[in-house]
Amino acid sequence: MVVAEAGFATPYTEIATMSMEPVVTVPASEGGLTMSVRAIPNVDFSKIPSELQGKWVAVRVGSGVQEILKEGDTPHEAMAGVQREWNTILTRVPAPIAIAASGESDGDH
């Protein structure tokens, strides 16, 4: 992969003085929440049925496959009774992304 043939550095614009809180960054292996580095496959929203848009869903993602385990109106409903495994994820199914004539999307943020 060719990253760049020429680089330009443009500093960010400082909007306001933001307090830089000293945040502790600790690998999960250092304690507390024990979670190893996992290559969890990305959920593919294009394969989630459109009738679930707006719902929360528990999805099991795997290499090349994904399985919707449960749906609900809240995260709690979607995860209730679901057997949690390392590749079980929780997400809300995004509303339809409108495509304007120019090809631009109406991003959600």
Partner: protein
């Protein structure tokens, strides 16, 4: 490990297919309540938003980790949203874990509504301020360069001002 720094390493993560040809840089995030560490979410895909000042999570996720966004917990902050009026919003101390890189970050999190059903955004304060991410839109992937300073002072709670 106190005072040491992890050697830098890089993790490539493909963009997430949102459907209809839209690709977004997302990372899985496990959110944990610092006041009730046994309460945490399952991995949730969040959009990395380099233009966002803070990390904001979907309001519906707060009860999952025991946070009552209608109560008087957390701390009040005045926010100045782009295109909106200044308003007060509460922030709560949480830890987020990115299982794809095995790192945890302590931060003040905001919970708000997302009009189009998003799960949340990972912004500058508490996340991008401590992690370098390169975006390769043509290759449809992001590369996380992890070289954050690691401390041995404990997990999280020491990171917040009194």
């Amino acid at each position: 490990m106190s005072g040491d720094s992890l050697p830098p390493y890089s993790t490539p993560i493909p963009f997430t297919d949102m459907g209809r040809g839209i690709l977004r840089p997302c990372l899985y995030v496990v959110i944990e309540n610092l006041d009730q560490p046994h309460l945490r979410t399952d991995p949730i895909p969040m959009v990395v938003d380099t233009g966002a000042d803070h990390c904001i999570f979907a309001r519906e996720l707060a009860p999952e980790i025991g946070i009552n966004v209608d109560g008087d917990g957390g701390r009040l902050q005045r926010v100045f949203p782009l295109g909106g009026e200044p308003r007060l919003i509460r922030e709560y101390p949480v830890q987020i874990t990115i299982p794809q890189i095995g790192h945890r970050f302590s931060l003040w999190a905001r919970f708000d509504s997302f009009a189009n059903g998003g799960n949340g955004v990972l912004g500058y304060g508490g996340f991008l301020s401590f992690l370098d991410i390169r975006f390769f839109y043509r290759e449809r992937l992001q590369i996380l360069d992890v070289r954050s300073k690691v401390t041995g002072d404990g997990v999280g709670v020491g990171g917040f001002p009194a």
